[in-house]
Amino acid sequence: MVLAGQAPAKGILFFAPEMFWDFVLVALLFILVYVMIRRANAGLPIPRIRKIAGLEAIDEAIGRATEMGRPVHFTPGMSGFGPETYAALATLSYVAKTAAQYDTRLIVTNRQPTVHPVTSEIVRQAYLEAGRPDAFNQDDVRYLSDWQFGYTSAVLGIFRREKPAANLMFGYWMAEALILGEAGAEAGCIQVGANTNVFQIHFFIVTCDYTLIGEEQFAASAYLSKEPMLTGTVVAQDMVKILIGLLVLAGSVWATVAGNADKLVKFLSQ
């Protein structure tokens, strides 16, 4: 392995110097995930995930919709395939199974044409696993528009016309976050919102009953499935976060004592 300054300009099989710390982070996370999977397979204890109110509320929201005889609306967000969308799809899988078991109508709306067939397949499979394949309605998994506000206005129309009792908004959200959150609140929905966009999270906080802030959304699959192997990966992620937190703390102390932390920044930037 050759580090910065030593890498030949036209080498092959030498470490890309500008990617050193990225590699360290990826390797560390892979190692920690591997260790946690081994622990889970060996039946060794895995730390528990703290209670996440927003995920606990999903059952409450579907239950409320069932009691009221009204549908549940779910959306996997505005972005194409990315970490947020995968997390939203994992949540959709759980929501669809629960809705199928309760015999509650589930409306899924999509902005991305590439995500739409996947959501359709997830819901179909969930109804199949719940033993109710006949209850799956293809027309309730809808592609609306890839135009940001075209999609938004279509969802506003669904809130008005089909009056869902629960509105579950996962994935990544932008300027439409407040419009949808507020329209859902006006429609009387119990709302769970999740977002990683720091400029829009506060809109979900003020309009939704429960909000998953940032990383909480990524813990959804582990939290809902209670699968030790997946829980282990969340624990691994938290360990890396603690490590980075310690690094931030060290940098703060260093900057306070020495006046600046330029040497540390330079070391990590190489």
């Binding site: 990225d22 592609y143 940001q148 407040l178 720091v198 990383e215 980075i244």
Partner: protein, 211 residues
């Protein structure tokens, strides 16, 4: 059926390993060419998948019209607009005069109108969230009042020095919170990607997690 679920997992794993290999190892120009080629493949497959959305849209609304479901007229209008715009786009091109006229004078104006609704929604959301219900809501209300006065010229006249308070709220507690959320979300996204790459998270292929 088994292969139908396993094939996407294999494709994701192999693609991820290749991308990481070409990112972390210095293969020179060869590496850049391979990554660029993979990016093109991704775009081509996305275009194919792109058709599936509009097909669903047409199928749904065609069903509404033919079965005369409630509000089928809305569906008919959607179909007419979709067909007309597709024909215009095909004949006139993406930068054609008629296409741009439709986009600039209809689509963008409607989008602007929806976006403008934010102004009203901010007022109604602020009214509900700024009620003094508990300690958190009180902190939210106080911060909002200070920030609004700090941004408005009259604020400094009413309470001298308030602009500095506003500046402090934005640059210290607000920045700290935002950075914390960003850091957690970035690492969370990273761990979620690893779960997908390793096939631990497979709900996206229509299956349960960690089967």
């Amino acid at each position: 059926m088994q292969l139908r679920r396993q094939l996407p997992l294999i494709v994701v794993f192999v693609t991820a390993v290749l991308v990481m290999l070409f990112k972390f190892v210095n293969f020179g120009e060869t590496g850049k060419n391979v990554l660029s080629q993979m990016d093109k493949w991704s775009q081509v497959t996305s275009i194919v998948a792109f058709l599936l959305g509009p097909i669903n849209l047409i199928r749904l609304h065609l069903g509404n019209v033919t079965k005369r479901r409630p509000r089928w007229v809305h569906s008919a209008l959607t179909l007419v607009v979709t067909v007309v715009f597709t024909i215009v786009f095909a004949l006139n091109g993406s930068n054609g005069e008629v296409t741009l006229w439709i986009i600039n004078n209809i689509a963008i104006q409607i989008s602007g109108a929806i976006y403008a609704m934010l102004g009203f929604y901010i007022c109604s959301a602020a009214y509900r969230s700024f009620k003094l219900r508990n300690l958190e809501a009180t902190v939210l209300l106080l911060s909002a009042v200070i920030l609004m006065l700090a941004q408005a010229p009259i604020g400094e006249e009413i309470i001298p020095g308030i602009s500095k308070w506003g500046e402090w709220i934005l640059s210290v507690p607000n920045s700290a919170g935002m950075r914390g959320i960003r850091l957690g979300a970035a690492i969370g996204a990273f761990a979620a990607s690893i779960r997908v790459i390793l096939g631990l998270e497979r709900s996206w292929v229509g299956g349960s997690t960690a089967e």
